[in-house]
Symmetry: C2
Subunit: 226 residues, 2 copies
C-alpha cells in the first residue's frame, strides 16, 4: 500500500466532485440569493443526484453557503489584503501609502471583475456576515477578521504620519464601503437594460481605482480651495 502518496486517486476524485458542487452552488446562489437557491438546481447543474450533495455536505444548503462565503468571499478578501500590503515599509510616506492603498483598490476591483459570481453572492447575501443571526455568527467573526487585517496597514500608515490621525477601524469600513459602492454602481449600470446616459463613466479597474483613491486620499474639495 502506498501511504506515501499524498492523496489517493479516490480522494482526488472526491475533491474534484466536491469542487464541482461548490461551483454549481456558487452560480445558483449568485443568481438567486440564498433563499431563492434550491438544492435541486444545484444538484442538476453539478450533474449529480440530490442525495449525492448530502454525501459531501451533510448539513446541506447551509453548509454549502457557509463554505462558499468563508472560502471565496472572506478568504478572497484576506488574499487581496495580504498581496496588496506585502511591504509595510512602503506605508511610511504619504506617497507610498497612497500607492499601496491604490494597489489594494485595483486588486479588489480586478478580483471582483474576474469572479463575477463571488461579487454577486457578496452583494446579495453579504449582510449575513454582519448580523449575528443564529447560524452565521461564525461568519460574522471571520468577517471581522478581514477588517482586523485591513486595520493593520491603516494603523501603520497613521503611525508613520502618512495618514491623518483618525480611528483606523472606521476608516477600514469606509474604504470597504467605497469599493462596495463603486462595484454596486457598476453592477447597476450593467443590469440596467436601458443603459441611460448617466451610467457611462465606469471604466477599467485602474481608472476606477484612480477615482476612488483621489476622493479618499486627496479629498473631494478642489485642491486650490481656500
Amino acid at each position: 500500500m502506498e501511504i506515501a502518496e499524498p492523496l489517493s486517486r479516490r480522494e482526488r476524485e472526491r475533491q474534484t466532485r466536491r469542487q464541482a458542487m461548490l461551483d454549481a452552488a456558487l452560480a445558483v446562489f449568485a443568481e438567486n440569493g440564498y433563499e431563492g437557491a434550491t438544492i435541486d438546481e444545484i444538484a442538476e447543474r453539478a450533474e449529480f443526484g440530490k442525495g449525492t450533495i448530502y454525501n459531501y455536505f451533510p448539513d446541506g444548503k447551509e453548509a454549502l453557503f457557509m463554505t462558499l462565503l468563508a472560502e471565496l468571499v472572506i478568504g478572497g478578501l484576506h488574499e487581496v489584503i495580504a498581496s496588496s500590503f506585502s511591504d509595510l515599509d512602503e506605508l511610511a510616506t504619504p506617497a507610498g501609502a497612497r500607492a499601496a492603498f491604490r494597489r489594494f483598490i485595483v486588486n479588489m476591483i480586478q478580483r471582483h471583475h474576474s469572479e463575477d459570481n463571488v461579487l454577486l453572492m457578496f452583494m446579495k447575501e453579504g449582510h449575513r456576515t454582519v448580523f449575528h443571526e443564529d447560524k452565521t455568527a461564525v461568519l460574522a467573526e471571520q468577517f471581522n477578521g478581514v477588517f482586523d487585517a485591513l486595520v493593520v496597514p491603516i494603523e501603520q500608515a497613521i503611525a508613520s504620519g502618512a495618514l491623518r490621525p483618525i480611528p483606523a477601524l472606521p476608516v477600514a469600513h469606509l474604504l470597504m464601503g467605497n469599493i462596495r459602492g463603486y462595484l454596486m454602481a457598476e453592477l447597476d449600470a450593467r443590469c440596467d437594460p436601458s443603459q441611460t446616459v448617466h451610467k457611462a463613466p465606469y471604466g477599467t479597474p485602474d481608472a476606477a481605482a484612480d477615482f476612488i483613491t483621489t476622493v479618499l486620499f486627496d479629498g473631494l474639495l478642489a485642491p486650490d480651495a481656500a
Copy 2:
C-alpha cells in the same frame, strides 16, 4: 351626503389599519428579511387575521414590501436630500459645500438612528433596489431617482469650483457607500454581543459626520504631507 369632507371616518380608519399593517410588516421584514418574513407573523403582529391583510394588499407580501421600500427607504432618502440641500447657493464656496454635505450626512445618520427598522430593511434587502429582477425593476428605477437627486448638488458644487472636477454620479455612489459603510459598522458593533475593544469609536451623529466629512472632503492624507 358630504362629499366635501376630505376623508370619511370609514376611510380614515381604513388608513389607520393599513398603516398598522405596514408598521408590522416593516418590523418583520427588518427582523427576518424578505424571504424570512411570513404573512402570518405580520398579521399576528398587526393583530389582524391573515385574510384581512389581503383585503388591504391584494398582492400580498410583494405589495407590502414594495410599498415599504418605496415609501420609507426611497421616499426617506428623497426627503433627506431635499431638506439638506435646500439652498443651492451655499454650494458655491468650498466651505459652504463642505457644510452642506456634512449636514446631509448628519441628517442621514440621524434618520437612520431614529428609524431602526428602515435601516435594517435597507441593509438586508437593499440590493433589490439595484438588481433588475422581475418584479423590482420599478424600485430600481426609483432608486436611480435618488442618485439623480443627489447628483444635482454635487454637480452644482463642481460647476462652481468648490469641488474637484470629477464625474458626479460615481461621487454620489461613493458618498452613499460611505454612509452605508458607516451605518453597517455601527450595526455590526451593536449586534456583536462580545463587544470587543475595536468596536468602540462610534458616537453621536455629529461625531460620525465629522469623521466621514473629513475623510471624504479633506482626504485621508495627512494635511501637512508633501
